[in-house]
């Protein structure tokens, strides 16, 4: 049932991402907790949401250019992490989260390829069908064709996200049970990924002053954090 729920969430997110609404509900920051909640562990989704949002902050659809399918990647990562955490009985920990990222993140690139195939193939055929319908005076059918385009993104994400999550859910418990000493270094790896994701976000903002603002804010936040930590009882 978990995989069905994940497929539904991923499919709806893929539709919201481009075909309908675009209200940030399919962005990693919203989708990861939603996917986690749908699978019974919202906190697990919340752990991966901020780094994934920042990592894919530049994943935007400019003109005809297609970005990595961040919604598909997020659903797969959050789903895989939650399911693996459930299998291990620990919930989502940083080491589980980073393994989920390493195993399933490439599905976002696969999603981009699938998008390209749909927009250049299936949707073009839908457009031709609409023109033919209009030529045959079937106005309603010509207009309705637009909605047919929602099916393929939904179906692709609904299949690919659970498949990638299943792979992560199968591999992660095996890795962590067989090599328990890897947990500590993987936890450090999670924070290295999260810090890199912040840099990726700042870079994606395409501002001339971005490096200055990014590194200055990093230094100020780190110093303030240390001060608060030392002062706090």
């Amino acid at each position: 049932l978990g995989y069905l729920v994940l497929g539904l969430v991923a499919g709806l997110a893929a539709v919201e991402r481009k075909g309908f609404l675009q209200a940030m509900l399919s962005r990693p920051i919203a989708l990861a907790p939603i996917a986690g909640w749908a699978l019974g562990d919202a906190a697990g989704g919340l752990l991966v949401a901020p780094p994934l949002e920042l990592f894919w902050l530049g994943a935007v659809n400019l003109g005809a250019a297609l970005p990595a399918h961040e919604a598909l990647g997020t659903a797969a990562i959050a789903g895989g992490a939650v399911l693996a955490g459930r299998a291990l009985g620990t919930g989502v920990t940083p080491e589980i989260a980073i393994l989920a990222v390493l195993i399933t993140a490439p599905v976002a690139i696969l999603g981009r390829k699938a998008d390209r195939a749909v927009e250049g193939g299936l949707n073009e055929r839908i457009a031709l069908h609409a023109e033919t319908a209009l030529a045959g005076h079937h106005l309603r059918e010509a207009v309705r064709c637009n909605l047919y385009g929602l099916a393929a993104p939904f179906a692709l994400a609904a299949v690919l996200a659970p498949a990638a999550a299943a792979l992560a859910a199968a591999l992660i418990p095996v890795i962590l049970v067989r090599v328990p000493a890897a947990a500590g270094p993987l936890r450090i790896g999670f924070y290295a990924f999260a810090a890199f994701a912040c840099a990726s976000g700042a870079k994606a903002l395409r501002a001339k002053a971005a490096p200055r603002f990014f590194f200055l804010a990093l230094a100020v936040a780190a110093v303030l954090g240390v001060l608060v930590w030392r002062i706090a009882p």
Partner: protein, 256 residues
């Protein structure tokens, strides 16, 4: 002759359908199917004659591509022009010229403001909020983003419908490029705050060495991306380097 008016309920329906503008985005006509789908209720209200409606629909099934939020303004403006065409006070090519003239500039403006400034800013704000305050911060950030997004989307649709060609001046007064520059800088600063929080957490969890590794991942990662490195492979390198360094540290620490 006063142009025929599209009923308000129909305009609401058209706006709702604007939300599906990219449902069947295709390389041939891009958002052409979405545009025709969105404007169809207005064409039904304006043209009782089936052949006139078919001709109008054909006009809107041609190539169209714009930013999906900004396109609401063009849909509204196209209805403004269609009302005039239906009343016989404007040539049939009027709505098409309007679309062709505005789609490029509004697409550039929308991409520059919404996609590369406002949305990343709120994404970064929500991420920092989630790191510090949890899920309620995400809900709040997305609520504010959507209040702005829907406010502008509805306002642009209305401005296009009411003002027609005068829409350009209204959009100009919004000064979106200036706001975009500020949002980008603020967004970069928010990413820095997020990195600071992550650095501290890694330090608390794994000691100063872990914080140094996170700082290196952020600093070297930024430098690599600025030099054109690809995102996903660089992320793997940063993560695996972090894992490897932690393994090496544990090995030497354990053997000493």
């Amino acid at each position: 002759v006063s142009p025929a008016k599209v009923p308000t309920a129909t305009l609401v329906r058209v706006f709702w359908r604007c939300l599906f503008l990219q449902a069947a985005w295709n390389r041939r006509g891009m958002q052409n199917l979405g545009f025709a789908y969105a404007i169809d209720p207005a064409l039904r209200a304006l043209y009782q004659d089936a052949s006139a409606r078919e001709e109008a629909l054909r006009r809107h099934l041609g190539f169209f591509n714009c930013h999906p939020y900004m396109a609401a303004a063009i849909v509204g403006g196209a209805i403004h022009h269609e009302e005039r065409v239906a009343a016989g006070v404007e040539p049939r090519q009027g709505p098409l010229s309007y679309k062709q003239t505005l789609q490029g500039p509004l697409a550039a403006l929308g991409d520059g403001f919404f996609w590369t400034a406002l949305r990343p800013f709120f994404g970064a704000l929500a991420a920092v909020g989630a790191l510090l305050f949890g899920a309620p911060a995400i809900v709040l950030a997305l609520a504010i983003y959507n209040a702005i997004h829907f406010g502008l989307r509805i306002g642009l649709f209305r401005a296009g419908y009411v003002q027609g060609d005068a829409l350009v001046a209204t959009v100009g007064r919004l000064a979106l490029p200036v706001a975009a520059d500020r949002l980008r800088s603020a967004g970069a600063a928010l990413c820095g705050v997020a990195a600071g929080v992550i650095l501290l957490r890694s330090g608390w969890l794994g000691g100063p060495g872990a914080a140094v590794l996170a700082a290196l991942a952020a600093g070297l990662g930024y430098a690599a991306l600025a030099r054109g490195a690809r995102l996903l492979p660089t992320a793997y390198v940063a993560t695996l380097a972090g894992v490897g360094a932690a393994l090496a540290f544990a090995h030497f620490h354990g053997s000493s």
